[in-house]
């Protein structure tokens, strides 16, 4: 299962977008680094870095590849509307162009919950803000 999930996430890649539950307009900025746990049969920690300017989101996600310990960075673009987020990106260097779509919403505990879709596969995730330290 682990290999299956990793393969999905790796060989394919990012893209996507859509919204989710409501968030107040004065919701905190989503800018920063998020520790995202992709929940297949196995939780895969992934770095999601976001930058918010008004309703526009840009960022990157470091997706694991089939080689243990290696990741590939995928650029993301999207938007946030009323608390929901939608992001998508295209995996470069894959055999076929693959889109990953991230949907989610910030909950009251400050955690983003949603799904990551890679091609026809969809995985739930939760993402906690990383307290960056030097």
């Amino acid at each position: 299962m682990t290999k299956h999930v990793t393969t999905i996430v790796a060989v394919l890649m990012l893209a996507g977008a859509q919204a989710a539950p409501a968030q107040k307009n004065d919701a905190p900025s989503l800018s920063g680094t998020w520790n995202m746990g992709l929940q297949g049969g196995h939780v895969i920690p992934v770095a999601l870095v976001l930058k918010q300017e008004d309703a526009t989101l840009t960022g990157t996600i470091a997706m694991p590849t089939q080689t243990i310990g290696q990741t590939v960075e995928v650029r993301l673009t999207g938007e946030t509307t009323k608390g929901s987020i939608t992001l998508s990106g295209i995996v470069e260097n894959a055999k076929e162009s693959t889109t990953i779509t991230i949907k989610g919403a910030l909950n009251e505990e400050g955690i983003i919950e949603g799904t990551v879709a890679v091609g026809s596969h969809e995985l739930p995730y939760t993402a906690e803000r990383l307290k960056e330290r030097k």
């Binding site: 682990t2 049969g41 920690p45 770095a47 310990g69 290696q70 330290r133 030097k134």
Partner: protein, 462 residues
């Protein structure tokens, strides 16, 4: 009669074997005590992948730590149940975190398996690098070895079970040194771990005096002769000047050395026979059975302590992300896969059984320590064994509520027979600082990310 030197060895054919404590050394020992007190030996054991009891469902079922704190705890549902015969020596510390093992930056996210082992005994956050610019912290065992190891032949020993690969990067931008070493002599100096019992044995007992040709040594090995054969004359000479108690003690000790050596020879013979191996890439001295490998490593540690060749051991029992199976445990499935149990009850329970199996190997060490005389008591009286993991809930790669316990009273510094539950958010480093203080390093004010000193005696009624 002149007292026998604590440094006396059996010599012959260029080999030298250190001696256990003997009554004939008493005047020397008394002098040593007067100056420095009874020395506590230290064994630091790291097991990777946290515990089932650190996961939410495992916490509710008390799969690692018992429900009750204080002295009236029940180990039955826990993975620690095999320690029941030693509960009077046992200090369980639960609910502590290893924050330095967490990612501090975006590029560190996901690298937990490749970073955590470097944190276990240093409680320091490793610098993410695959180059020579390694940086972690000085490990607990090395701080202690700096105090008590200077007077022993080997200041400290570092041993492990799984293969290590100290060269190059292991993943997520981390050097394999972070993944494979738990002992750090300096923040930039990890110490290599020895996996092969033969090499450990030779370092402890097979030291060849300068001038002995390597060819002679090889021929002895080829003939499968014992290291004891090399020192027979010296041993006979020593026996003649010992009393009956010392003669028996020396005989028991040498028999134990021989017994361990014989087991290593049996393993080597089997592994060199051409029979199929479960671990075909492993050196001939490494048993295919995990339990046998751990047991022989423990026996070597006890012999090393008995002979005072070393007083400090760091023992890495697993390797992060290893998917090794443990047929002896009765649990099917690989270690890493089970550690990602997905929070499913049945898989969490299977993982707990695996945790229990790993802990069940510790009583072998404790029994051996308990049956080995040391001064007025036994080695167990004068040893502190700590066991833990830098990971908590491995399913989500967190470092909260990590598994940790101590066995031994460190010469009276610890009370034993107690479960201490830390307040939420307590760094494991606080506990490790408490361990260092219990070992006599009470001049240390900080260790890793410690915020204070955890009181290992606790305030417990009864």
């Amino acid at each position: 009669m002149t007292p026998l030197s604590r440094r006396a060895v059996l010599q012959g054919m260029g080999a030298a074997i250190a001696l256990p404590f003997l009554d004939a050394m008493v005047p020397v020992r008394a002098a040593t005590r007067a100056s420095s007190g009874q020395i506590t030996r230290l064994v630091c054991i790291e097991m990777v992948h946290g515990s089932a009891g650190s996961a939410p469902v495992g916490l509710t079922k008390n799969l690692w730590a018992p429900a009750a704190t204080g002295r009236d705890f029940d180990l039955t549902p826990t993975s620690l149940r095999s320690l029941q015969p030693f509960r009077d020596h046992l200090t369980i510390v639960s609910n502590t975190d290893v924050d330095p093992a967490n990612p501090f930056t975006a590029t560190e996210i996901g690298g937990d398996h490749f970073r955590s082992s470097a944190v276990f005994l240093t409680q320091a956050h490793p610098k993410q690098t695959q180059g020579a610019d390694l940086m972690a912290g000085v490990s607990l065992d090395q701080l202690y070895a700096g105090r008590v190891g200077r007077n022993t032949v080997i200041p400290s020993m570092q041993v492990c079970i799984e293969p290590v690969d100290q060269g190059g990067g292991c993943g997520y931008g981390y050097s394999c040194a972070y993944t494979d070493a738990i002992s750090w002599a300096a923040p930039n100096r990890p110490l290599p771990m020895i996996r092969d019992p033969r090499i450990v044995f030779d370092e402890l007992f097979g030291r060849i005096e300068p001038g002995v040709p390597e060819a002679v040594r090889r021929e002895q090995l080829r003939q499968q002769r014992s290291i004891l054969d090399w020192v027979m004359t010296s041993a006979a000479r020593l026996r003649a000047r010992l009393g009956p108690t010392d003669r028996a003690r020396l005989g028991d000790y040498l028999e134990q050395v021989r017994e361990v050596e014989r087991r290593i020879q049996v393993i080597e013979t089997r592994n060199l026979s051409g029979e199929e191996r479960a671990l075909p890439e492993s050196p001939a001295g490494v048993p295919d059975s995990f339990g046998d490998h751990v047991a022989i490593m423990f026996d070597l540690q006890v012999l090393a302590f008995a002979a005072d060749v070393t007083r400090v051991v760091a023992f890495k029992m697993g390797r992060d992300a290893s998917n090794r199976g443990y047929p002896e445990s009765g649990v099917s499935g690989g270690f890493h896969n089970l550690s990602h149990h997905g929070g499913r009850d049945a898989t969490v329970l299977e993982f707990a059984r695996l945790n229990a199996y790993h802990v069940s190997l510790i009583p072998h060490l404790l029994s051996r320590l308990q049956s080995t005389p040391d001064g007025e008591g036994t080695l167990l009286d004068h040893t502190l064994v700590l066991y833990g993991s830098p990971m908590g809930d491995s399913n989500v790669h967190n470092h909260k509520r990590v598994p940790f316990f101590i066995v031994g009273r460190a010469g009276g510094a610890l009370r034993g027979g107690v479960h201490l539950k830390a307040r939420n958010g307590t760094p494991l480093a606080d506990v490790m600082l408490g361990v260092l203080h219990a070992l006599g390093l009470d001049d240390l004010a900080r260790f890793g990310d410690s915020e204070g000193v955890f009181d290992l005696k606790g305030i417990v009624a009864g």
